[in-house]
């Protein structure tokens, strides 16, 4: 059988993404909610801090995190979390949805590799996640009254864009778990909170015990979050300079997708040899 051309592959990726974008435009309420959830999420520790810390809230926060701008710090955390969380939700649910609707088996019989269909879902997820994170950040800044245009906006965006690839590489690992265990709901929920904890959504990972800190540093979203915060609020990069932190993310960019694909492939072969991918 002849391999599909790059043009066909590109067309498959776009068609898969377009289908999902079309579906979400039918639920405009969900898009509005995507923007508001990170704001509400960040508002909770902000309000708790203001109520408990009083006038010294900013001072205390600076002592613990390196910036007195706690509103910006927490809002950046929840906005980046939206991107990370969407990546896991969309990829895992795509797989589970194909399983439940009985089309996953059919997808394996199609003349194109399913990785390109998954890439279309990832493209959709990137677009939706980025839209939600940016609108949440700017709207949140307007509501919670802080200047969103401070710091290096371009550098912050670069950290996000570079972080996308290792992030989606990691979702393949997660997809492998869904393929094997099948209980997507519970696992995605757990992963969502696990991810936010490890990436330091509302706190710096320096407060973690050494072992947990190492685990957090092996996790690309941690570098993404800190990179964005450092670029915008100047809290300090992990390795002192922005290009060193970015270099680590580039390293992840090479390793994470390959490793994720290898694990996914391995699990997939195993599942196909046993019960088959149509089981759910």
């Amino acid at each position: 059988m002849t391999q599909p051309s790059w043009q066909s592959v590109f067309s498959i990726v776009l068609a898969s993404a377009r289908m999902r974008f079309l579906t979400i435009t039918r639920y405009p309420g969900q898009l509005v909610l995507d923007t508001f959830i990170p704001i509400v999420f960040a508002a909770m520790p902000i309000l708790l801090g203001r109520a408990g810390g009083g006038e010294s809230a900013a001072e205390m926060f600076q002592r613990n995190t390196g910036t007195a701008n706690y509103v910006g710090y927490l809002l950046i955390g929840s906005s980046v979390f939206t991107i990370v969380s969407f990546a896991f939700w969309h990829l895992a649910y795509w797989l589970r949805w194909e399983q439940e609707s009985g089309t996953l088996e059919a997808l394996y019989l199609a003349p194109v590799h399913r990785i390109w269909v998954a890439a279309g879902t990832a493209l959709y997820s990137c677009g939706r996640g980025l839209f939600a994170a940016l609108t949440a950040y700017f709207l949140g800044a307007l509501i919670l009254r802080f200047n969103p245009l401070q710091g290096e906006l371009g550098l912050a965006l670069l950290f996000i864009l570079v972080g996308f690839i290792p992030l989606y590489g990691m979702t393949l690992l997660y997809g492998a778990v869904i393929l094997k265990v099948k209980e997507a709901n519970a696992l995605v929920n757990l992963m969502q909170w696990g991810v936010s904890f490890l990436m330091g959504i509302f706190f710096p990972i320096t407060i973690f015990p050494p072992l947990l800190k190492i685990i957090a540093l092996l996790f690309p979203p941690t570098w993404m979050t800190n990179g964005v915060r450092s670029a915008l609020l100047g809290i300090g990069f992990f390795l002192g300079e922005w290009y060193l932190d970015l270099a680590v993310l580039w390293g992840f960019m090479l390793i994470a997708p390959l490793f994720g694909y290898w694990v996914f492939n391995h699990v997939e072969i195993n599942v196909r040899r046993n019960e088959g991918v149509g089981q759910f």
Partner: protein, 291 residues
């Protein structure tokens, strides 16, 4: 006075309802027990939520130096405010999803129409879900309370009986919200997922589950005062914390007590009526199994 035959009929009716309810509750519990990963994951999730918000709260304190006193010490117990608020939030959130949105699962699986063709009382299907929420969420709340109090400090338990009463009537009212949401789910179908998410976050802010009401801007506090669930949160944690200065925050406790009691009595009735109306509409319009 009922004669013997009428009494026997009533008894038989009650017995049938009880057996139906128990069969439905057992079905929910069996499903629950068949997904151990979900069970374990939900506890892991509770632990992580607790850890995230606790650590976020600690960023506003001198936690690295236990001997230092904060320049502006809080006038309330952090653990009391967040733990008791979190317990009520967990019940509200689980109610919205398990009672309200689960109707959607029955629709998608194609079992809702069949359920309506059976001679069983349909409303018992909704109530049966309460049992699994009480068990599952109750256990998760207990674990969360233990975890949170171990992380942020001693949890005040000042008026346990009064607190228990407020918790029970609050849960009753919350289940009423669940029934009303189930009615909405039948009408709006897939959009119910968005609505559940939206409501969950609206309640989270307006009911101030993780912070005192005083932290809310005045215009939002106005909307909080329109929600009975906000009074539930305020009355429950104020009672459990032993009414520290400034608590309750929304209204005098006597008034909150009346509101919470009325909410616990009337909301399930209102929710039930809304559910029946929505169900009747769907049956007449032939949209019960449509999704």
């Amino acid at each position: 006075m009922l004669d013997n035959s009428k009494r026997a009929k009533v008894q038989e009716g009650l017995s049938i309802h009880w057996h139906t309810f128990w069969a439905m509750a057992r079905k929910e519990l069996t499903i629950l027990s068949r997904y151990p990963i979900e069970f374990i994951a939900s506890f892991g999730q509770v632990f992580l939520i607790v850890a995230i918000f606790t650590l976020a709260g600690l960023m506003f304190s001198d936690f690295r130096d236990p001997t230092a006193s904060s320049a502006a010490p809080a006038q309330f117990s952090y653990s009391g405010v967040t733990v008791y608020g979190f317990i009520l939030f967990m019940f509200l959130s689980d109610t919205l999803w398990s009672i309200g949105y689960n109707i959607r699962h029955e629709q998608i699986q194609g079992t809702l129409e069949q359920l309506y063709l059976s001679p069983a009382n349909k409303f018992l299907n909704l109530i049966a879900r309460v049992i699994s929420i009480l068990l599952w969420t109750g256990l998760a709340s207990f674990v969360a309370a233990l975890l949170m109090s171990s992380m942020i400090g001693h949890l005040p338990i000042k008026n346990p009986l009064l607190g228990l009463y407020i918790l029970l009537v609050s849960l009753s009212g919350t289940f009423g919200i669940g029934f009303a949401f189930a009615a909405l789910t039948i009408r709006i179908k897939e959009a119910a997922q968005t609505a559940a998410n939206f409501l969950q976050f609206i309640f989270l802010i307006l009911c101030a589950n993780f912070f005192p009401f005083s932290a809310l801007p005045p215009f939002l506090r106005f909307f909080s005062r329109l929600l009975p669930t906000a009074y539930c949160v305020d009355a429950f944690r104020s009672a459990m914390m032993g009414f520290p200065p400034g608590f309750p925050e929304l209204a005098p406790f006597e008034i909150e007590f009346i509101i919470v009691t009325l909410f616990g009595i009337f909301m399930p009735i209102i929710g039930y009526r809304l559910y029946r109306a929505s169900e009747r509409y769907a049956r007449q319009a032939g949209t019960l199994s449509g999704y």
